[in-house]
Symmetry: C2
Subunit: 203 residues, 2 copies
């Protein structure tokens, strides 16, 4: 009943997450999801009426996870440099555990840019800047950070953290001949990226 219920619905959701993140919305097959969940295909439609419903459930959960990972930076009582180190360490560690999320998200956002905008509209970027400014008022004078350059800086930080996972196939192809392991590279990147960014923004 309610116990088993949750089990089945969750099994479906997990199977759908696996298949959708691997093949994308267009490439995913309902039969394949059913097989992964070890159930009948009709049962998918019993819990999630259509493929779209199921996909949206998966997409919104993943997108939410991704964005939440950017938030803790504002809570922590750390210096600016420490925050940057903290972010790269936490974010890359998260992506190491979920290496397919970046590619999946970027692809689905390109396929349907409208969907993500609803989630983004909830973020008050102006407020975020005010918080950051208040937290590091004196500290900020030592860095080339202004409200105007924030978009460039933030997108660069996101790029450095996210891009390697989205472009993993290319990087692994290149690394193969250099005897470099992708996981080692990613582990090293936590520190390299932080040093890189901190040096870049210092006055």
């Amino acid at each position: 009943m309610t116990e088993n219920d949750k089990q089945t619905e969750e099994k479906i959701f997990e199977a759908a997450t696996e298949v959708f993140t691997e093949r994308g919305m267009d490439g995913a097959r309902m039969q394949d999801i059913a097989d992964h969940a070890g159930i009948n295909k009709a049962l998918l439609h019993y819990y999630y009426r259509t493929k779209d419903h199921l996909f949206n459930a998966v997409f919104e959960k993943i997108a939410g996870q991704m964005f939440k990972k950017f938030a803790p930076v504002f809570d922590e009582k750390l210096s600016l440099e420490e925050k940057i180190r903290f972010f790269f360490k936490e974010h890359i560690t998260f992506l190491q555990k979920n290496p397919r999320l970046p590619g999946f998200l970027l692809n689905e956002i390109n396929r349907n840019p409208g969907r993500i905008k609803k989630l983004i509209q909830q973020i008050d970027v102006n407020k975020l800047w005010l918080i950051l400014e208040a937290q590091h008022k004196d500290e900020l004078k030592k860095y080339n950070i202004t409200k105007e350059t924030m978009p460039q800086l933030m997108s660069s930080i996101a790029a450095i953290s996210v891009f390697p996972f989205a472009a993993r196939g290319i990087l692994e192809g290149i690394f193969e001949k250099m005897n470099i392991n992708f996981n080692d590279y990613m582990e090293e990147r936590k520190g390299y990226a932080a040093d890189f960014v901190i040096k870049a923004i210092k006055k």
Copy 2:
């Protein structure tokens, strides 16, 4: 005729490029490509036997274009800093004219990592480092650049240039509320990115 022949084949290729880059391999429909080219669907199979053939033709051309854009840096007789500025200016300008290529390529590489590896195997990364070292022997002492940190640096440069186009949907969502135009942001990025990287690598 050979004249008309080229016209038709090219029309198909261009239509296929448009549809494939917009919808991806799985999302693209042969009928849609035929409509875009203004021809019968059977004619697609006359020139390109299968959807796979047509897709591979498009993919390899686009992947080739993308990688070639990284090459001129090694030919130009410029200082290291000038090369970095040259790269971001040229590469971002290219992507401004082809904004869908990054998302398309990253997605298709994730869908089939094996395909790109054949193209990559042709690149001799070790040789590239030797060239760079020879070109900037003395100059390199002023920067934190070694053979060991090259992968981190190069992937960061690529990330800063490519990521905004792949994540355009997210960025535009955020920029909307800040009254920032994506094209203005991209134009500004050519200089910002160069400054950013140069500062990051200076000793």
